[in-house]
Amino acid sequence: MNWLTPQVLAVFVAMAQALAILLGAVLLGAAMTVVERRLLGLWQDRYGPNRVGPFGSLQLIADMLKIFFKEDWIPPFADRTLFLLAPAIAMASLLLSFIVIPFTPALHVADWNIGLLFFLAMGGINVYSVLLGGWSSGNKYALLGAMRSSAQTISYEVFMGLALMGVVAMAGSFNLREIVNAQEGLWFIIPQFLGFCTFIIAGFAVVHRHPFDQPEAEQELADGYHVEYSSMKFGMFFIGEYVGMVLVSALTVTLFFGGWHGPLLPPIVWFALKTGFFLVLFILVRASLPRPRYDRVMSFGWKVCLPLTLLNLMVTGAAILLTTPE
């Protein structure tokens, strides 16, 4: 057994952790589809899916079976390569972002110094899934959805990055582990409240959840960019959206709510509880708000959110300069 050196063991542990996080993220994303429907049911005075298994707990399995066995149709008028590529990008770019998130002091995939930048890069790549999916479908509704999506995501990614710079400045690092450690005394939600507000708004916009679901806008574009997708290709867009929700929630917790920090309970539980809170918030917002018009969404981003993030960044910078000893 001389090949089982500590280094090899470390590789195995890292692989196991990576696998666990991958599976966890995908399964949680998939489970969120059911959780969302049950919660919406609760808030809308109805049951939601409660027939498959006790309290509808096996609904997920039924849905998965169904979606795998649906006809996998590629429209003859679609651009085949891009049409196939789009859902893969949707799923992969969001899953890859989980690499940089430290769930507990021990559980993580990569401890990179470029952590936050990597997430922003992946967020940038994610736009292409909607853009390519909508454009390659050869459908006018999908095209309008893709057009809205590219406009919206570009607007919101600008200040999403800027919103996080306050956190980076305070922690003095792009490394997410160090950002969490910097919050041991005080969560960044307090000094970085403006940054938090704009980040969560941009987060909704980037994963295009309601009320920023302009690319889909069922009542207007009849599901927009993925209207031509069926079976598991649609499933990847669909689960991808929920994975995105989990990702944004996990990042919010990491950046503003002290990550795994918390009294009494083990770190992983604290992380899960905080993330769960934001997941429920995503669903609650969907249940309660109407959808603004998309040009208003744009102007809100540029005229309100962007100035706010800049202000936040400048105030943070000034405060750091003033408090740092010479």
Partner: protein
Amino acid sequence: MSVASPSSDTLKTGPDTVVEALKQRFEERIVLEQATLTGWPVIWVARDALTEVLAFLRDKSQAFEMLYDLSAVDERLRSHRRGLPEADFTVFYHLMSLSRNRDVILKVALHEADLALPSIVSLYPNANWYEREVWDMFGITFEGHPHLTRILMPPTWKGHPLRKDHHARATEFDPYTLTVEGQDREQQALKFDPEAWGMKRRHDDSEFMFLNLGPNHPSAHGAFRLVLQLDGEEIIDCVPDIGYHHRGAEKMAERQSWHSFIPYTDRIDYTGGVMNNLPYVLAVEKLAGITVTKRAETIRVMMAEMFRITSHLLFLGTYLQDLGAMTPVFFTFTDRQKGYEVIEAITGFRMHPAWYRIGGVAHDLPKGWEKLVKGFLDWMPKRLREYERAMMENAIVRERTRHIAAHDTTEALAWGITGPNLRATGLDFDLRKQRPYSGYENFDFEIPLGHNGDAFDRGQVRIEEMRQSLRIIQQCLDHMPAGDYKADHPLTTPPPRERMLQHIETLITHFLQVSWGPVLKPNESMQMIEATKGINSYYLTSDGNTMSYRTRIRTPSFPHLQHIPALMRGGFVPDLIAHLGSIDFVMADVDR
């Protein structure tokens, strides 16, 4: 604009200056004044004088601002038309003056060899669709019409369905077949051709997108198709395409007894339930000369207002859903369910009870109805308040609907807009107040008005209308008269059962009236009511038979959809969706 409110007596019998004015001005070109039970002067006009007469009537001195209805009758098989001008076809124009609360109906006689009339689109813009419908249904051409094509029937249809020689039933022609070529032909015929509508495909160096919104689209509220000419998301122009829900209700009326047509009326505005029965049975009762008991009238009012509430609740839920709020529709459907529990207990059915009868209603109120109605009255007010607070006061809802698809009263009248959509512009015109029917004059309620005539006001007015309907129902509950639920009249259908149990003669009479249905004297009558979506009326022509000779169903949603392009040019796709949600239409009410 204020509206005179004469009592219902002067409305029916009082002297009408319009006839005198017309006779003075046009002399022998006014052919005849026909006596009918419509309640309005019916004047036959020579064809060459039509445009002049209409222009004169629309003018300020006469102020007939609205073309309320325009349709035709195939007179060729009509046997009782003594004293009327010779005609194979008659086209009638129903004009309304809302400022003077007066109507007038003009008729023009046409002969088979020369079925043509001048188009009046330049005088009344909403004549456009009505003239297309007359061409589609009767084959009468309108010279100068901008786009005289089929509107309700498929473009490939042969013949004109409301002509008396066109078959009425599937068994009267060959079985339907559809070959691959036939299918291709049909689909090709549905393909939109921008040039045919005078639209450009390109503008400068950019190409317009032509987008089919519908006939299957989540926000089209039924089988409704709108072809949008888009520059980005801006709507340059649009063309509504209706007829996908056409069932030929007016043709069916010519093959159903007076009694057995009642269930068809339920399905005209399918969210309006028994509200649809009301104008029909009232018009039939005018022909039959039946006076309904106070109890029957009050029951009818109560159930009609129940349906106004359930229809408005459906409107409210879908209107907010079209704005992207997913939750309210579940709440309004819960309320609707509460309403349907009452409706079901009283009528035995939910959406389409077909419960009104010629001379009354189908049966008396069941034991314990007061408790059910009271439960509903207690439930609703706090829910309406909640909708206002959660949604109508919401900034996003306001931003999506304020000043969207707004129009003023003058424009509304020119396009034939009625009902809450008209009142949202601030005009106080509600038939329940201005021309009371079925005892509405005995109730104490207010008419909610808007100011801006935009998508927001159209929603807000309807919430307020529900409150007023609750008030009316409360008064029905408090003051329900005792007495019979059916009129004691030989033409009441089905006749009261006690009348058949006397001897063989009464049994035979009963049997004939139930199997053949009542025979009504030849005449014409019409009744307008303030239905859920606007003014709905039935114009019945009896030829002394067990069936109607011609039933014209004027529905509010038809002109409301015609108005869409005028409002939406320059708007965005989301504005169009907000406007569609705020109109409150169902396609069955448009296509009939």
